[in-house]
């Protein structure tokens, strides 16, 4: 059937994250927050961070969206928790390159489980869905740096 290619995108682990997303709740102690919108579909995602000494102490997100944006947000929160802001910035750029189909050195180590979203590169219309949460995290960190 023609949907076989679809299985490349909707891997079991992605479906699991989308159905049972991690860190999908408000973060009352957050000190930085960014709301981003996927203007094509109207989906809205809010990423909240608690940053201390340039480290992501905690992270969570709220908002609705498709499987890809939800799974990506869930994985993102898993992966960046405990990392330094510099590390996260590098991860976001790596993630963005990855879904654009570019070669990312050391991808698996850099992005952990989120590396599975590499398959989004074959579905260009879905790139914006995948990057939304990561972009929000990046912007929140940038904001935090401007605070200093």
């Amino acid at each position: 059937m023609a949907l076989s290619k679809l299985s490349n995108l909707y891997r079991q682990v992605i479906m699991d994250h989308a159905k049972h997303p991690h860190n999908n709740q408000p973060l009352p102690q957050a000190d930085h927050e960014i709301e981003l919108r996927n203007p094509t579909c109207g989906d809205v995602l809010t990423v909240q961070l608690k940053i201390q000494d340039d480290k992501i102490i905690d992270v969570a997100y709220t908002g609705t969206g498709c499987t890809i944006s939800q799974a990506s947000a869930s994985m993102m929160t898993d992966q960046i928790k405990g990392k330094t802001t510099a590390e996260v910035e590098k991860m976001v750029l790596g993630f963005s390159d990855m879904v654009l189909g570019k070669e990312v050195p050391d991808m698996e180590r850099l992005l952990g489980e989120a590396a599975i979203l590499q398959s989004v590169a074959q579905f260009p219309a879905r790139i914006k869905c995948a990057t939304l949460a990561w972009k929000a995290a990046y912007q929140a960190i940038e904001e935090s740096e401007n605070d200093d």
């Binding site: 023609a2 679809l6 299985s7 909707y10 479906m15 579909c41 498709c66 499987t67």
Partner: protein, 412 residues
């Protein structure tokens, strides 16, 4: 028309395109339509034999180009039931047309305290220009509500339109709900209160016989690319008196009678609005699209779409967990079907359908206020046109069932 159907399909080479190894089933016609060979041939012929700039030239090509450019004005006015080609202004599309009415007519005819009325089912192009106008002049923007099944609520219209109303702007047909609005009734209401009636005909002109005069429209806008024509061309039809009182927004080139160093006199409508070189080949292509639709017959187009929606709607309604927006009676529906499946985000659904070659849209369809009104973030939308077949409808339904299976049962 069904008898001619096979010939007609031959006119649209893109329908043979393979998408993800499946034959294209193009159901995104509300976004833009495909173009028949006749339109593409006409554009090409124009460029290969007649291409020149219009109006300004003495030479033969300039004369040929000008003649065609002006003849299409006559085609347009006949096509939409107007009577004066000078009431036809060429624009980039519906969006530009509505913006010109808002900024060129509205800015001088709508004043502080006046009210502008739209509905909850409008496309952004028929909301944001009025928001901007309202904010600029201090007018108020009001919304007509919808009935429970997604039709324009005429009772609400009667309340919302008052003597304070100076302008009512509604879509003739919705790009989401598959309904045709009672423009004639609303226009009467508007006129009773001394307001003018603006109509967004983007989803109507391609699909049904339109008569701007019988409708009682004062301005009427539509786009070429949604009616088999090329991109970058549309029409603002407006009553002569209103066009005369409307300010042009693009100055320069051929819209001018006399330019002094510090002052300029403009030509009469429609020319005063057509500043700079226009999309001449686009105009010629629009003319070919009108010819094509006229040959097929607008009534046949409407009937064909109705027969398709009668065929597909019951099948769609039977799918468990589906929610379809707009009336459930196919008799009052157009070929636009917006829906959601429980537990499947429309974006995921659209990706899945695309794997089967079925092109539908997913998102807010440039109608965020309507989405909020319906309480959804987004919907999937399939929109049919004259070249779609029952086979397309079957493939569409099958693709949905497959996608549902894929996402619900984890068949991966």
């Amino acid at each position: 028309m069904d008898k001619k159907m096979n010939d007609l399909l031959e006119d649209f080479p893109i329908l043979k395109e393979m998408i993800n190894d499946e034959k294209l089933v193009y159901l995104d016609n509300a976004a833009t339509t495909q173009k028949p060979k006749q339109v593409l041939d006409t554009i090409r012929y124009y460029y290969e034999h007649d291409n020149a700039n219009v109006h300004r030239g003495v030479h033969t090509l300039a004369e040929r180009a000008t003649k065609q450019y002006e003849q299409v004005r006559e085609k347009v006015v006949n096509f939409i039931g107007g009577n004066d080609p000078h009431e036809v202004v060429y624009t980039k599309g519906t969006t530009e047309a509505l913006n010109w009415v808002a900024a060129g007519y509205g800015a001088t005819h709508v004043h502080a305290g006046d009210e502008i009325v739209v509905s909850y089912m409008e496309h952004h192009s028929n909301i944001v220009p009025w928001q901007q106008l309202a904010a600029k002049v201090g007018a108020k923007l009001k919304y007509i509500t919808l009935t429970a099944d997604g039709q324009l609520d005429l009772e609400s219209a009667k309340h919302v339109i008052t003597d304070k109303t100076v302008l009512v702007s509604l879509c003739h047909a919705s790009n989401v709900l598959g309904v045709v609005n009672p423009i004639k009734e609303v226009a009467q209401l508007a006129h009773q209160h001394g307001a003018i009636m603006v109509v967004d005909g983007a989803q109507a002109v391609p699909h049904m016989r339109v008569n701007v005069q019988k409708l009682g429209a004062d301005f009427y806008a539509f786009s070429g690319h949604k009616m088999l024509g090329p991109t970058g061309i549309g029409v603002l039809w407006g009553k002569k008196e209103l066009l005369a009182g409307m300010r042009p927004l693009e100055f320069g080139g051929e819209m001018i009678a006399n330019v002094g160093l510090y002052h300029t006199d403009f030509k009469e409508p429609p020319y005063k609005f057509e500043g700079g070189t226009q999309n001449i080949a686009g105009v010629v292509g629009l003319g070919a699209a009108i010819d094509y639709l006229t040959e097929v017959g607008l009534d046949n187009v409407t009937a064909h779409e109705k027969s398709l929606s009668k065929y597909v709607l019951p099948k769609l309604q039977k799918i468990p967990g589906i929610e379809i927006y707009g009336p459930s009676d196919p008799d009052i529906r157009t070929g636009v079907l917006s829906f959601n499946l429980t537990g499947i985000h429309p974006h995921d659904l659209a990706s899945a359908l695309d794997m089967d070659g079925v092109a539908v849209r997913a998102g807010h369809h440039c109608a965020q206020p309507l989405m909020k009104y319906l309480g959804v973030g987004a919907t999937a939308r399939a929109s049919f046109y004259l070249y779609n077949t029952k086979a397309d409808a079957d493939l569409f339904i099958n693709a949905i069932l497959e996608a549902k299976e894929f996402f619900s049962n984890g068949s991966f």
